[in-house]
């Protein structure tokens, strides 16, 4: 790496550098069943965004669970429509 930033541990091991890529956590939204939530995150303006959804304390794996619908529009993340508690994580890079 000719330019950039690299961070090393005491033993000389490089743990992070500008040659890497990551997704940074913008928010973690706990959205209970049958509820909706909408938040504005200025940090995601102009950035690539992905979201993940995990069922929390979900019913048995063999039972029906409707996931929340996640919509990212500009800097607004809206979550609605699920019948199971879920954690939505919003990442950007």
């Amino acid at each position: 790496m000719a330019h950039g930033l690299a961070v090393y541990l005491r033993n000389g091991e490089a743990v992070y550098s500008t040659a890497d890529v990551t997704w940074n956590l913008v928010a973690s939204m706990y959205v209970p069943a049958f509820t909706a939530e909408s938040n504005v995150y200025p940090e995601i303006d102009g950035r690539e965004v992905i979201t993940t959804q995990m069922f929390v304390d979900a019913p048995l794996v063999s039972q029906t669970a409707i996931a929340h619908t996640i919509v990212v529009s500009g800097t607004t993340v809206s979550v609605s429509g699920g019948n199971v508690d879920a954690v939505i994580k919003v990442f950007m890079r």
């Binding site: 992070y16 890529v21 993940t52 069922f55 304390d57 979900a58 794996v61």
Partner: protein, 329 residues
């Protein structure tokens, strides 16, 4: 930005570190073997695992990643995996459930279990006390909270994809109507593959959201004449027996990886299955018939979905390399 700190990647000008968003840091690799809470070999096979995380006191669940052991089932099909549930048990204890579609060829040696690595914000991640060098970035709005701490093994990712499962999880043929056994055609289907980079030890975050059920009915009947059969007509008592089998399988979404570890694709995971049977016996004399009392119908246990699929929209997959975290303190 007027005040603060921001580092961008050489690859695509992505944000790597800033004072507003959290880098994820290594919390723990979860102990093996996991608890096996369910297991069946029919319809392609399934295993359900529970992993336990202790000492993680964040109010929100961490982000788990799992490896996909490089193996196939007895028929040479790849094995699929997904995170199906995460649950707080209180006092810093968490339960993480992983489902697997397909039973590995040759049984279940220990090295066939997925390894689970857990990541979370820096203030919940352990630091090696001997690591006195490094870089810490504190949050602008909460100066006591670090967004980045190089001593705590920040997560680097190798890929981010979305995958979409095929709308139909299988092409079932059905079961023997008399015995409700030997159901065929319920093996899970997979969707289009995505090329992923070559990674020393790939690990994946993928949460199972999609669900599907497929069922198929098969019928059979048999006629017996207890009187005299004259030119195909029964003179006297005629008995007709009917059998109907409704074989079904319930699926959850999963992902699988090719054996060369360069292609990722969505693949359904069978998580529950069964067969419900109906039987009727009808008797008659000279064309007047009635149902016998030993007819029965048992449709209990059928899943609420009936040949339908839900939560089919694209789901994110985050890919990392587990290698550095195997050697963490």
């Amino acid at each position: 930005m007027t005040i603060g700190f921001e580092v961008f990647s050489e690859q695509g000008n992505y944000v790597l570190i800033n004072e507003k968003t959290m880098n994820l840091h290594f919390i723990k690799k979860l102990p093996l073997p996991p608890a096996v809470i369910d297991y069946f070999q029919e319809n392609g096979g399934c295993m359900k695992y529970q992993y336990f995380l202790s000492g993680y006191y964040a109010p929100e669940p961490p982000l788990p990643f799992f490896t996909m052991p490089k193996t196939t089932d007895d028929l040479g099909n790849t094995i699929s995996y997904a995170i199906s549930n995460i649950k707080s048990l209180g006092f810093g204890n968490w339960l993480i459930e992983i489902i697997r579609g397909g039973i590995p060829y040759g049984g279940l040696p220990d090295n066939m279990f997925p390894e689970v690595y857990v990541f979370g914000p820096a203030n919940y991640a352990p630091a090696n006390p001997n690591d006195t060098h490094g870089l810490i970035v504190y949050m602008a709005s909460e100066p006591s909270i670090a967004t980045f701490d190089s001593r705590k093994r920040p997560l680097t990712v190798k890929g981010g994809h979305t995958v979409t499962l095929p709308a139909i999880p299988s092409n079932p043929i059905g079961a023997n109507p008399k015995t409700c056994s030997n159901a065929t055609g319920f093996e899970a289907l997979s969707g289009s593959g995505t090329t992923i980079p070559s990674i020393a030890k790939p690990m994946f975050h993928y949460s199972s959201l999609a669900q599907a059920e497929r069922r198929v009915e098969t019928n059979e009947n048999r006629s017996d004449c207890n009187g005299f059969d004259i030119f195909g007509f029964c003179v006297g008592e005629a008995i007709v027996e009917y059998w109907k089998a409704t074989a079904w399988t319930f699926y959850r979404g999963g992902i699988a990886m090719s054996l060369d570890e360069l292609t990722l694709y969505p693949k359904w995971i069978p998580v529950h299955y069964g067969c419900q049977q109906e039987y009727a016996e009808e008797s008659g004399f000279f064309g007047i018939s009635w149902l016998f009392g030993n007819s029965h119908t048992d449709l209990t246990g059928l899943p609420p979905l009936n040949n339908s699929t839900i939560n089919l929209s694209s789901t994110s997959v985050i890919i990392g390399d587990a290698t550095p975290y195997d050697y963490a303190f």
